[in-house]
């Protein structure tokens, strides 16, 4: 997109199409769906964090009142050790949904029951007898990495180790990223800051628990209704884990009550399918909140060491980092993405980053909004702040001096195309928030955020109804208003009001493959497919008009929802309603679809400004003012773009101040509920101001960049830097809870 395009629909704030259903309670979320004759499925979960399973006796449970099926690990097909699609190891995934030889975390599924009521299913679970041999749980990075550590997986060797490991280990992989000669470059630095940071496991905390209904028909087809970010992913994973063809599974996504990356894998879905196969009845499974916390993906706890050097004029010269990420019970943390994200905001030519993916006896991590990024950038942006302070340069000026811009080679490899970091920093410097006076015990901090954003596979179809209204079908669950952004793009191309476009989320048999709602990709990538499909419809509309007028198609233009004659032609314009009504007589119904693998996802950058007030007596930290400034490329629906900025900021504030999984010495999760795992509530937060910057992504027809993930990358450091300015103390361990803040204040008094 070379120059700014003017839009009629895009950039407006219509009411979302699914809005009335959601405010009236009519919208159907995962747990809202039921079928006649349905059974309830429940899961028996490990009470231990690490143990060998010696035996599982389900006979009493099978004979229990109302029980129609009982399954455990032996009921799943064997999956070969090397079975992977490059992202997901299916052997691990199968063992995560149902334990085999060992249980690896508190809450690991052992068996599942389907019975005629929830109560009877729960009673049957109590009759399953499991014999364990307890093993020492591995609960920290130090324990996992120590020589002679208890090993979780006897066949795990370190990938990427140099030299390759011979013995089994808890380090699943080692990655390295870098260029230039950082050691030589550090020698030219005037100031060097070298610090270590730790963060704890945190949970996505979506309000809607995982839920599924599965029904297996006599012909072997399984129908799945569930809450998910990716119905095609559910189909593929269930097929792999259960040894079925994809065509034997149809997945219908419900409305989804939040995910943030946590609903991009399977937990109860394969169990429900297996239970329905065994019982011949539909099976519904809904996780409890405790199950969600104990056994669905948190984000990694981390230990990250960052060293950065700069010259007195404020030029960054070198950086190194060592990053350890907890993967949970099975390999696969987002350490690589974290490493790629760490220094991405800056023009840094000499650096080296080492990253380690470490297994331990905690739930397997899942993606959480910009997976791997927030903890990495907490470390790097804290060090940036300390450097600016030592150099006595304004933190915005310091960042501007080193900011990534077009043509700079990113630390993660490619050269940046047009990006908007500098625009967000300049907007922050000019923002009234940055100049406002602070009160007693208050401090202001800054953090920059970055995320790559994804493209991947999308399919969309646009169909014209007989009255000139349109339907847009995609296969991406709408997690935050994307239906309306897709409808806005179709409306823009067709030239009709967005209210005359009905967006629909299809199931896996009504639309071609779509990758999931994740990676900030839906408005960007599926939007591209919608635009292309709508353009094909417009082409068809022009052809129909040309046929009606008896002219060549290139003599027909399309403006404001009407075919208009070009070059002084004298025909009366034909509106979309007229052409649609006559479609049957001019060639048939008008519909088009587009499938693509979207390339050119533009990274989005943010600058967040945070003011905190610290109670010096209690160490309680309150965020009193917050401003999120981010480049959206082009905001299709500004209201929902702002909402992404605000929601990400709130999650980041929670991560910074309150949230952490707490495990006891045996590895039991001590806070598996919203009372003790406290996400921010309304009274914890101020209004979160937003400023949308629009530096168009040159590789999207409207200039769109994904916006969903970047907003959680900046806040951790912004809060920590604000806290430093309020107290003089630097906190490098999350969460920055009152006892830690008090200790830190004491240490600088």
């Amino acid at each position: 997109m070379s120059q700014k395009r003017s839009f009629q629909q895009v950039g407006t704030r219509p009411i979302r199409h699914d809005g009335i259903d959601k405010v009236t309670g009519r919208a159907n979320f995962g747990a809202d769906f039921s079928l006649p004759g349905m059974l309830w499925g429940r899961v028996l979960r490990s009470p231990h964090a690490h143990a060998k399973i010696l035996s599982i006796d389900t006979t009493k449970a099978e004979a229990s009142e109302g029980v129609k099926a009982v399954i455990s690990g032996v009921d799943f097909p064997a999956i070969s050790p090397s079975s992977s699609d490059g992202q997901t190891d299916f052997r691990d995934l199968s063992r995560n949904v149902m334990a085999r030889e060992k249980v690896l975390y508190h809450g690991h599924p052992i068996a599942a029951v389907a019975a005629t009521s929830k109560q009877l299913a729960d009673e049957a679970l109590e009759k399953i007898i499991v014999e364990y041999e307890l093993l020492k749980p591995v609960l920290s990075l130090d324990e996992a990495l120590a020589p002679g550590a208890t090993i979780l997986h006897d066949d795990l060797k370190t990938r990427g180790a140099d030299p390759p490991s011979e013995e089994p280990t808890n380090v699943a992989s080692r990655i390295e990223l870098g260029r230039g000669d950082p050691e030589a470059a550090f020698a030219t630095a005037d100031v060097i800051v070298d610090r270590e940071f730790t963060t704890q496991m945190v949970h996505q905390g979506y309000i809607e628990p995982h839920a599924v209904v599965a029904r297996t028909n006599e012909d072997g087809q399984s129908l799945i209704w569930c809450t998910t970010q990716g119905p095609f992913m559910i189909r593929a994973y269930c097929a792999r884990l259960l040894g079925l063809d994809a065509s034997k599974i149809r997945v219908t996504p419900s409305e989804i009550g939040g995910g943030f990356g946590g609903k991009t894998t399977v937990y109860v879905e394969p169990l429900a399918v297996l239970l329905s196969q065994r019982s011949g009845r539909p099976v519904k499974m809904v996780m409890t909140r405790e199950e969600v916390f104990r056994a669905t993906g948190p984000a990694s706890g981390t230990r990250i060491r960052v060293k950065l050097g700069a010259k007195n004029d404020g030029t960054l010269v070198a950086g190194t980092a060592e990053m350890y990420y907890e993967a949970g019970a099975f390999k696969g943390s987002a350490v690589a993405a974290g490493a790629m994200c760490l220094f991405a905001s800056y023009d840094l030519q000499d650096f080296r980053i080492e990253g380690y993916d470490v297994v331990l006896n905690k739930p397997k991590v899942a993606a959480y909004r910009a997976p791997g990024g927030p903890m990495a950038v907490f470390a790097s942006e804290s060090v940036m702040d300390e450097l600016a302070e030592k150099l006595e340069i304004d933190p915005i000026d310091f960042r501007l001096h080193n900011a990534a811009r077009e043509g700079v080679q990113a630390t993660y490899g490619p050269k940046f195309n047009v990006i908007g970091l500098i625009e967000t920093l300049e907007a922050a410097r000019e923002h009234p928030h940055y100049k406002a006076p602070l009160g007693p015990n208050q401090g202001r901090g800054l953090g920059c955020g970055f995320w790559f954003n994804a493209g991947m596979q999308s399919t969309a179809s646009v169909s014209l109804n007989e009255d000139g209204t349109a339907v847009v079908v995609s296969g991406c669950p709408d997690i935050g208003g994307s239906r309306t952004s897709l409808a806005l793009m179709a409306a823009e191309e067709l030239g009709i009001p967005v209210e005359r476009v009905r967006p629909v989320v299809g199931d896996t048999e009504t639309v071609g493959v779509n990758d999931g709602t994740g990676g900030s990709r839906v408005t960007f990538a599926t939007g591209m497919a919608v635009i292309e499909a709508a353009q094909k419809v417009v082409q068809e509309l022009r052809e129909r008009a040309a046929a009606i007028w008896g002219v060549e198609v290139d003599q027909v233009g399309w403006q404001e929802g009407r075919a208009q004659p070009k070059d002084g032609g004298e025909h009366e314009p034909l509106d979309i309603e007229t052409i649609a009504r006559r479609a049957g007589r001019t060639g048939g119904p008008i519909t088009a679809s587009s499938s693509l693998t979207a390339r050119g996802a533009g990274p989005s950058f943010a600058t967040h400004i945070c003011d905190v007030e610290v109670d010096p007596e209690t160490g309680f930290v309150r965020v009193v003012r917050y401003t999120a400034i981010q480049d959206a490329g082009k905001a299709i629906h500004p209201g929902y773009v702002e909402g992404q900025f605000q929601g990400g900021a709130a999650q980041g504030i929670g991560w910074a101040l309150n949230e952490a999984f707490v495990f006891d010495d045996e590895g039991k999760l001590e806070n598996p509920g919203f009372l003790d795992y406290r996400i921010p509530v309304a009274s914890d937060l101020p209004m979160i101001d937003t400023l949308i910057i629009e530096v168009p992504n040159p590789r999207h027809p409207y200039g769109v960049r994904g916006v969903g993930e970047t907003p959680i990358v900046a806040p951790l450091a912004a809060v920590a830097n604000a806290l430093h300015n309020a107290t003089g103390a630097r906190l490098r361990d999350l969460p920055m809870s009152p006892p830690r803040v008090l200790d830190a204040i004491d240490s600088v008094r």
Partner: protein, 159 residues
């Protein structure tokens, strides 16, 4: 265990159902009466997604036993709009884009209605503390607060 017969009024209509004595009002509303607008987020009274009014008082329906509904008046999210006319809170939530995933929205609608019924002119702080029991993980609450305060202003005839 034999079931209990409960007679109550739900959203202005006389209503009766059978329930297990241990069943929560939330489960009865959803499983016995098919009123799935009331959502389950935690079953421990921490998230507010299942907020309903019981004799006009805001409660988490997961913490109320279904038999306690005997002879009482219940309002769920399904009873907030008057026919096709949305309640001002519902309208303003839509206008302000004050929902993303929308699973907390029914509870917020019920809680905000209760707030405005009791305090027609709430301050932002009052509204924040009143809604502190309704968790939203998507919005950061900003747009929700603006919508609720705007709805209150409209109901006072100030807009």
């Amino acid at each position: 265990m034999s079931k209990l017969h409960v007679q109550t009024r739900v959203n202005g209509e006389a209503c009766e159902f059978l329930c297990d004595p241990r069943q929560s009002l939330l489960d009865s509303l959803r499983d016995e009466l098919g009123l799935t607008g009331t959502k389950e987020g935690c079953t421990t009274g921490d998230c507010g997604a299942c907020s309903v009014l019981l004799d006009g008082r805001l409660v988490c329906s997961c913490l109320v036993l279904a038999p306690e509904a005997e002879g009482r008046e219940i309002t769920t999210v399904e009873g907030v709009a008057q026919g096709e006319a949305l309640h001002p809170v519902q309208k303003k939530i839509l206008e302000h884009a004050a929902l993303q995933c929308g699973v907390c929205t029914p509870g917020i609608v019920v809680a905000a209605k209760a707030l405005i019924d009791r305090h027609p002119n709430p301050t932002e702080e009052q509204a924040r503390y009143w809604l502190a029991g309704n968790l939203c993980r998507c919005t950061g609450y900003d747009k929700i607060l603006r919508a609720v305060l705007d709805a209150a202003a409209e109901m006072r005839g100030e807009v």
